[in-house]
Amino acid sequence: MSWLSPEEWQAVALSLRVAVWATVVALPLGLFTAYALARWSFPGKQFVNGLVHLPLILPPVVTGYLLLMTFGTRTPVGAFLAEWGIVFAFRWTGAALAAGIMAFPLMVRAMRLSIEAVDPKLEEAAATLGASRVWVFVTVTLPLVLPGVLAGSVLAFAKAMGEFGATITFVSNIPGQTQTLPSAIYAFLQVPGGESSALRLVVVSVVVAMGALLASEWLARRVQRRMS
């Protein structure tokens, strides 16, 4: 990657790492949440639904500040986690956490829609054939919602790549540590002569986003074709 300076490359690599981690960790949680919201009725369901969607509606800066207040090193939660060696504040892990939380509602929405589209009668049929609930999920529900899971994951990945407001508020903009792609673009635009670096990173952003989108479309089509 000779056409990217080491500084620029660092931002790209960090962003990819942050987005991959955010997506991978959010995936099972998102699937579980989507399933619960789609299929179960439980007290406080509307509250959970609202909580999941909050990052979508709140100003990202507010989400970032709330994260700082919750996971900062001098907060009870932050101190407790620090004892276990888990530190979020001003680390790349914090950037991943912020990106994951911001991407979560998008992921859950896409997955929930596809789970609701699965006919519960098929799951009943699987149960009468001897499949326990876990097996029904693994062998019937999951394969049928795979396109939605893929779409939700790509959406989340793209969102995580581009997350700016919550990240910069929560973990600041430290090159090599928390300076993700959007933060780097922002930083380059603040210094004279940084436009060309910013432009190169913009191109990288567009390529990564398009690539992810095309890959997911292609995968979803393959899954769809297998089923019809």
Partner: protein, 357 residues
């Protein structure tokens, strides 16, 4: 293996309160739509939890006070009205789905595939199958899960007449060859006459009558499908096929002539005789085109609210139901104990009215 069901459940509009047994063979839960049939079969399958009740297969309790076996541990094969095949799996994978969980020996895949004639479909996906093919695969899938009992909820209702005629024989084979008890929900008198060994008649959420198919179907006081759907069921043995396209049968010593049937001489058939196709005569009819004349004794007459009456006649062939007008019944002087002749046109017996016994 006997299924015993006793349950109460409040449904919107009416209360279900039933108590019946399904002995080996094929038991039809017979009643019009909304009589609670599907609720009962879903309670047996574990897809619905009744308010109170006890359901057991022989000694194995599926549901009782404080006992609730989840559907996947009930070992019942369920054939739904819509086939409910898994769209992401091939026919072969659908068929083998239940066997993966059963962990016990059941029917062999090859035997089931051959019995249902679905060998050519194995590598296809359900989306590429016709309605009748789908339902055959669904039957195979239930059977291969090695169930202790098969449940079927109006499995033919979503099919057109031709597809119904295609699937009915498979249930006959299931009943006769697989030796697995079957609980079958239906509102179709034809299906009941063709398939049932035992009938449980449901009316307004209660069991109105239960017993052997021939007895229940020829009882004029029980008409769950309405008087228009009434019809008795006779058993008859094929004597021979005649050159003019008719098949001669022997029903308790009385010859019956039907349009040619597929069964061989010596085989025993079930013949459904729709009550509305039967003419009654007090004297042995002369110079009549109808070929089937069964002498008998009037056993019961049930007058309806309208102009009709349902007459049951005991004949050597079995009991026959005839639907005549009250006016005719009065004019003929029909009452219990008098002699009468049931007259049935051969062509009034449709191919779907005839099946293996």
């Amino acid at each position: 293996m006997t299924l015993s069901v006793r349950l109460r459940h409040q449904l919107p509009g009416f209360a279900l309160d039933v108590d019946f047994e399904a002995p080996p063979g094929l038991t039809v839960l017979f009643g019009r739509s909304g009589s609670g049939k599907t609720t009962i079969i879903n309670a047996v399958a574990g897809l619905m939890r009744p308010d109170t009740g006890r359901i057991a297969v022989d000694g194995r309790v599926l549901c009782d006070e404080g006992v609730w076996l989840p559907p996947h541990r009930r070992r019942l094969g369920y054939v739904f009205q819509e086939a409910r095949l898994f769209p992401h799996l091939t026919v072969r994978q659908n068929l083998l789905y239940g066997r993966f969980f059963a962990r016990r020996a059941g029917a062999r895949l090859d035997d089931v595939v051959e019995m249902l004639g679905i060998g050519a479909l194995l590598d296809r996906r359900p989306g590429a199958l016709s309605g009748g093919e789908r339902q055959r695969v669904a039957i195979g899938r239930a059977l291969l899960a090695a169930p202790e009992m098969i449940l079927a909820d109006e499995p033919l209702a979503a099919l057109d007449e031709a597809r119904k005629a295609e699937i009915l024989p498979y249930f006959e084979r299931l009943r006769d060859e697989a030796k697995i008890p079957i609980l079958y929900v239906s509102h179709s008198p034809v299906e009941v006459a063709r398939l049932a060994t035992t009938v449980v008649v449901l009316q307004d959420g209660r069991v109105a009558r239960q017993g052997r198919a021939a007895e229940v179907l020829s009882d004029p006081s029980v008409t769950p499908a309405g008087v228009r759907g009434a019809g008795a069921m006779l058993e008859a043995r094929v004597v021979r096929h005649h050159d003019d396209g008719l098949t001669e049968l022997d029903a308790g010593g009385v010859p019956l002539f039907l349009p040619r049937v597929g069964q061989q001489a010596g085989e025993v058939l079930r013949v459904r005789v729709a009550a509305s196709e039967v003419i009654l005569s007090r004297e042995a009819p002369q110079g009549l085109s109808a070929l089937n004349i069964l002498p008998g004794t009037v056993e019961a007459i049930r007058s309806g609210d309208g102009p009709g009456a349902l007459v049951s006649l005991r004949t050597p062939a079995g009991r026959i139901l005839a639907r005549v007008t009250r006016r005719s019944a009065d004019r003929l002087g029909l009452r219990e104990g008098v002699t009468a002749y049931a007259v049935v046109k051969s062509v009034a017996i449709a191919p779907q009215d005839v099946g293996g016994a």
